[in-house]
């Protein structure tokens, strides 16, 4: 494919394919797919993985959400057969593939961990950045359980996500 025809949607499609979103048609059918895409791209844009695609996130009912990202993955859905084919013909270089492997290794297809980590990270870094440090963690977790009450019964996932905050470079 000519290089000048590649745009950010192609890069996005390739990334999604590498992190396990291998059938783009599922994006429109399954809300959990879309949530995972939103949270995964948020994480991949951190310094640790160095995929700065320029998507800016707002905070809405289900956590951090990028309207621009939503626009782009819906473009992929509308042309799913083209993108499903495209991802088989292009690859990232070794360094980038290694970064994606690291992402897959850390999160091991555990979408609950992706969701928890991305949400907690966003709340700590942005939404509660105006709070003093000594109350920030408490406010963040109180808020997190308010918007994600299903994780009250999964403390091990939440602990894992919180521990990752210190080890993943922002």
């Amino acid at each position: 494919m000519p290089e000048d025809k590649i745009d950010i949607t192609h890069i996005l499609a390739l990334i999604l394919n590498r992190i396990g979103i291998d059938d783009f048609n599922k994006i429109k059918d399954d809300i959990s797919y879309r949530k995972i895409i939103q949270k995964s791209i948020y994480i991949l844009q951190l310094k640790e993985f160095d995929f700065n695609l320029g998507y800016r996130y707002n905070l809405y009912l289900a956590g951090p959400y990028s309207p621009d990202l939503s626009e782009d993955y819906y473009n992929i859905v509308e042309n799913s057969s083209y993108y499903n084919n495209f991802v088989n013909h292009l690859k990232f270089d070794e360094k980038t593939e290694a970064a994606l492997d690291r992402f897959n290794q850390i999160f091991s297809g555990n979408y609950a961990l992706v969701e928890c980590f991305a949400t907690i990270h966003f709340l700590k870094t942005y939404s509660f950045s105006y709070c003093a440090d000594y109350i920030k963690s408490e406010e963040v977790m109180k808020y997190f359980f308010k918007i994600k009450p299903q994780y009250k019964d999964q403390p091990e996932i939440v602990d894992q996500a919180t521990a990752l905050f210190d080890s993943i470079q922002s």
């Binding site: 590649i6 429109k28 800016r56 009912l61 939404s127």
Partner: protein, 421 residues
Amino acid sequence: MVKFNDTEKKIIDSPYFQRLRRIKQLGLAHLVFPGAMHTRFSHSIGTFAIAQKVASVLSLNKEEEKNLRMAALLHDIGHFPLSHTIEEVYSNLITELILKVQKKKLKNGNQTDENPMQIPILPKGVNLHEEIGSQIIKNTELSGILQKEGFNPTEISLIITGQHPDIKFNQLMHSDLDIDQMDYLIRDAKNAGITYSTCDIEYLISNMRADSDIIFFDLKALRALEHYFLAHYFYFTQILFHKTRSVIEYCARKVYRTAIEDEINIFNEPIPTIHTLSQYVLTKNYYYFDDNYFEVLLREISSEKIQKYKQVISYRKIPALYYEKLVLNDSSSDDNSRPKEDEIIIIEEKKILDDLKKIRMRNACPDSRLVYEDSKAVRLLIPNKYDYEPKVILLCQFQDTVLQRLLDFKFKILRRYRFRD
């Protein structure tokens, strides 16, 4: 009449806010619609006035109201000369750099990253002015004024950027029908003289409701909501996509971009680039980064290659439109040919209901309280007579609307212009 407290008056009197008097809301649209001379200043005051009304209708507490008013007043503090026209130049440059850096990661022969390009810490997209505004609020004298009066500047900037933990604010400032849109739709239509792109905003505001985190409208407002979305569509097609306005704005962006590439000086200072912009806005030079800045730039830039673009703006020597094609809903009609040397090709497109269409593509949620990621979508309160429990649903799921018939409608127009000899 709009009333301000002492803090709000101090903010309005600051040079950063007064700068907005010198930035026209619709950029160079006054060259087509002579009445479109209104500024970001009047729009910011208007948005503030709407925020006051909304705070009263939703019965926000004193703290919430105080923060919402201040965020509404300051939401456009980071705007660029000619508003979105110049913002788009910087956004495009950032997007191109992002793409260039990401393409380098593709497996392609012997590419190395000996000189990795640094992407400035600014996002792509039309919200660049919000990020700039956020920096101004947190890092300039405005921060001091706000803190002294009991505000938290970071909190105000989070409301403006849609990242505040109180999601009500994010919906009020960043949704398919937010208070910013409520003001500019009416203001821009009135000043441009396009009466059919107005709607009954007062009625919509009076029917807004809030239930903890969710903002929605009473079912009574359904037709007013339909009218709003149609008015918004006409606003785009009749004002923003006007054939002459489009080409004038294109030429302005071309001139400005050339100025950045040629690294020209304005007021003896280098023009800000995407790498220096975030520092530039914190200096006193930023007070003069307004429409006059662009006027001076037009005089200073002498590059031969853009003289014809300059004349479009300075002398209204508009290129002739020699081809126009409306390509409704047909993406296969995209014209991929490159423009010739004396040609300009512009494609404009607008879906009536971008987000509503996306929602329709999904399965309906059986829950009575919908918590899709599209919290920015408009919601309606449907009284349920049988269960006595009212339901809140998304507007696009309500079948009895004209909008349902228009969910697939996409206005797309291709125009070719040629410079006159």
